[in-house]
């Protein structure tokens, strides 16, 4: 099941494990991504914490964790190929995987259709 935040992160949840990235809309707004700083394994994040940084040539943006939990791994492929975020933001360009500590937090997130409607109004 995939959820979105108003800050344009997405999270795919399978069991208690979530995979987090930024939305296709977000990458299109950022332009060419040149660098991604993903969180280290084991890092404890609360919902809304600054978890990663994504940089284009002229801007750096913080990526917030959509849920609380412990980071399992950052996407190692982004170190050499930050352009994956441009080419496949909601697939190969994922940022990190996290063990959810409170699945109830997902209730406050949007499902895909709601997010599309949200973006359409921006």
């Amino acid at each position: 099941m995939r959820y979105f935040t108003e800050d344009h992160e997405w999270i795919d949840v399978e069991g208690a494990i979530g995979t987090v990235g930024i939305s296709n809309y977000a990458q299109s707004q950022l332009g060419d991504i040149v660098f991604v700083d993903v969180p280290a394994d084991g890092r404890e994040l609360a919902k809304g914490d600054e978890a990663a940084v994504v940089e284009s040539v002229k801007a750096a943006s913080d990526v917030y964790s959509p849920v609380s939990g412990a980071v399992i791994e950052g996407n190692p492929a982004l170190a050499d190929s930050p352009d994956l975020v441009n080419s496949d933001a909601e697939g190969e360009g994922w940022f990190f995987r996290i063990t959810l500590s409170d699945e109830g937090e997902l209730d406050s997130l949007m499902e895909e259709a709601a997010y599309e409607a949200f973006v359409a109004k921006l």
Binding site: D32, V34, F35, V57
Partner: protein, 526 residues
């Protein structure tokens, strides 16, 4: 009549002269230049050491730490060196070549008398730790410049050592922090910064451990005074305000704001980057400012040098004076003394400490003092007037073709602000900027301040003649009209510069920051 055709030659070039690429890659006076790592080598040197004494390899005192591996530093002979850097220089735009309308940067003429004075051996060839009796003239230069800066700003004292504007900001903010600590009010953790501020302001406040809160702007481009005053309270340490602000407007409520900030127990930092607009006409001290840095490389004409060195003395109000950093110069009778750590206790017990190794940018002090003495009090006043006049002339001459968001609010100060809002679809500020390059100008400041979409900030400065302004206005009008008409050739401008648009994405994705020997090409099999 008889026509002598023996000397005939075509004087009108053929149109569409897309000549074949040249053998060298050069185009007449536009010369390509290789890296020193390509043209130099490790055995060549342009320096002659004859008569410098003999080496003592046999009984060295290097404790077995002699450098044996190759360093990889190419050398060139003097003629090659002069040619290399002369060729490089010709790929730069500069004030010496033309109008440099970079808003908020005050690119004015750099008088050569300044350079000559800074190079007098009595200034250029003295050591910072020389006994103070042997450098009385240097200390007097610092003292005289300090006197001018304090008097022109109507403040109480000045810290001369900060190395640049941002360093000066840090100096001012640290003084505020020290003053709060002395009052036992370390709990004041918030610095208020207007949205239109230069990026160094929030960076500086954050470095000093303050939380930064944005203050919105009003539709006429000024600070929302009511919002600022409403935010004041026991957690607010102070405000950082640029005046004139980065939209080129005078913050007319500054005195009201200062009074309110002081009443609420905070301090007022003024970013003095735009002091050129008001020097000799307004004293920040009369507006309740507690600290302000002065960019000697802006208002006082020391050269920008392709990105520094700058110099950023900070003037202080009486309230912050005790907290100013070391070192500083004092006149005791006819003698100038340098107050450093040793004597700070008696003279300056509350100083927040030292910011740099020595005494600041002496080479910039001699230049700035030379400039100030040249202009005098009357000339500096004229500087501000002409700077403001030139900017308003540009604003009024172009507001019909470019959108000027705040033009209706009255005159601007030293810079004119335009936006990209009436360009053709798909055309941006960047295209206008690059189009200006082909017209032979350095572009204006673009995409700053952030409060205006696609901002174009034009600061002509007072050292431009009316004829120079008229030509620039014509050029910018022409480019703007092309951008409004959707002229596709603008999207690929510049066409006539040493380089076309550069790929910044590639530079940032795979950074190449130093030159490396290319990997050897595999030898063909025998």
């Amino acid at each position: 009549m008889s026509i002598n055709q023996s000397g005939w030659r075509p004087t009108t070039p053929t149109k569409g002269n897309d000549a074949a690429p040249t053998f060298t890659g050069n185009k007449a006076l536009m010369l390509e230049e290789a890296l020193i790592f390509k043209i130099g080598d490790a055995t060549t040197t342009g320096v002659d050491f004859t008569g410098f004494g003999a080496p003592t390899a046999a009984d060295d005192k290097l404790s077995g730490l002699a450098r044996t591996a190759p360093i990889g530093l190419p050398g060139l002979s003097e003629p090659e060196t002069v040619r290399h850097y002369t060729r490089l220089s010709r790929q730069n735009y500069a004030i010496d070549l033309g109008l440099f309308p970079l808003g908020s940067c005050t690119m004015k003429h750099n008088p050569r008398l300044n350079e000559k004075m800074a190079r007098l051996p009595g200034f250029s060839d003295i050591h910072p730790l020389a006994p103070v009796d042997t450098v009385q003239g240097a200390l007097e230069v610092i003292h005289q410049l300090a006197h001018w800066l304090v008097t022109l700003t109507g403040m109480t004292s000045v810290a001369m050592s900060p190395k640049a504007g941002a360093h000066g900001e840090l100096c001012g903010i640290l003084a505020i922090k020290a003053a709060l600590a002395k009052r036992g009010e370390g709990a004041r953790k918030v610095i208020l910064v207007p949205e239109s501020a230069h990026g160094t302001n929030p960076a500086t406040a954050a470095f000093a451990g303050f939380a930064v809160e944005d203050i919105p702007a009003t539709p006429d481009g000024r600070i929302d005074t009511a919002a600022l005053i409403a935010r004041l309270g026991p957690d607010v340490a102070g405000v950082m305000i640029t005046n004139p602000n980065t939209c080129g407007l005078f913050e007319c409520d500054l005195k009201t704001i200062s009074d309110a900030v002081h009443a609420a127990g905070g301090y007022v930092y003024c970013d003095g980057a735009n002091f050129n607009a008001i020097v000799g006409r307004v004293r920040p001290g009369d507006l309740g400012v507690d600290a302000m840095h002065i960019n000697l490389h802006k208002t006082f004409s020391t050269p920008h040098g392709g990105g520094g060195p700058g110099s950023g003395p900070v003037v202080f109000s009486e309230a912050l004076t005790p907290f100013a950093p070391l070192p500083f110069v004092e006149k005791q009778g006819e003698h100038f003394v340098l107050i450093e750590e040793e004597t700070a206790g008696e003279h300056h017990a509350d100083s927040f400490g030292r910011m740099v190794a020595f005494h600041g940018q002496m080479g910039m002090f001699t230049r700035a003092l030379t400039y100030i003495l040249s202009h005098g009090a009357d000339g500096l006043r004229q500087v501000a007037e002409d700077a403001v006049l030139n900017a308003n002339y540009v604003l009024r001459s172009l507001e019909d073709v470019l959108h000027a968001p705040f033009a209706g609010a009255g005159p601007c100060m030293h810079e004119a602000l335009f936006s990209d809002s009436n360009l053709a679809d798909g055309f941006s500020t960047l295209d206008v900027a690059k189009g200006l390059i082909d017209e032979g100008y350095h572009p204006m400041t673009v995409y700053f301040p952030l409060v205006v979409h696609g901002a174009m900030l034009v600061e002509p400065t007072e050292t431009e003649s009316k004829a120079a302004l008229d030509q620039f206005i014509g050029a910018l009008r022409s480019v703007a009209e092309r951008a409004k008409a959707g002229d596709a050739s603008l999207k690929t401008a510049p066409h006539f510069a040493p380089r076309s648009r550069l790929d910044e994405t590639q530079a940032a994705r795979k950074p190449i920051l130093v030159w490396k020997e290319p990997a050897p090409i595999a030898q063909a099999a025998e």
